[in-house]
Subunit: 125 residues, 2 copies
């Protein structure tokens, strides 16, 4: 009761925005759609690489490709609310999401998502 | 000059048989043929698995299969003369080599290769 964290303004993640129930629905759908599209791409690429295997080095190239993509996807698709704005910013930058997929999120969230996407675009330029 | 290892009988690997030039040719051919057949099997299986991928779990099953097979093949195909009798014993046991593939090796080597193959067969039974 006397702990500092019990006072009104001491919510430990006070810089983290709250996600409303409707925002969570929108976020989940956008996240799942982008992940599904990315997995579909990897599946198509793996099928193509496998069909073209002629020698063992092609085989291990396929293994390496799959391992790298799995790790990258694991890192990128992090569905923690504390991470979601970063995730969406990156997906927007990579054109795996469009802004309309995120319609219905609060403007403060959209602003930080757009801001990260813009930063990544400038960083890549 | 006075080191014990310089005396006539102190060859450090005295239990390792010497491989003659003609035996090395036979060993290399048998080894490469078995490895080639095993890689061909993995390639065929990878192509089959890839062609049947429907969802992401199938994709990561393929990655896991390739990683396991690569590690197993790396371990099994060890072309050091100190290891070759073990390698051939295992390949004989797995029916990846036939005794005639090893024809021309000295009888002491064939004996220890057969002996390991027999041990593995009994161990698996």
């Amino acid at each position: 009761m006397t702990s500092p964290s019990a006072t009104q303004d001491s919510y430990p993640y006070q810089n983290e925005p709250i996600w409303s129930r409707s925002e969570k629905v929108i976020a989940r759908a956008a996240f799942d759609a982008a992940l599904g599209r990315e997995l579909h791409e990897v599946i198509q690429q793996a099928k193509k690489m496998a069909s073209q295997i002629q020698q063992s080095s092609d085989l291990w190239d396929l293994e390496h490709y799959l391992t790298q993509r799995r790790k990258e996807i694991d890192r990128k698709y992090d569905y923690r609310y504390s991470q979601l704005r970063h995730v969406f910013g990156k997906l927007l930058h990579e054109r795996r999401l469009r802004e309309e997929d995120l319609r219905g999120l609060r403007e403060d969230k959209l602003k930080s998502i757009r801001s990260l996407a813009k930063f990544l675009a400038e960083d890549a330029a």
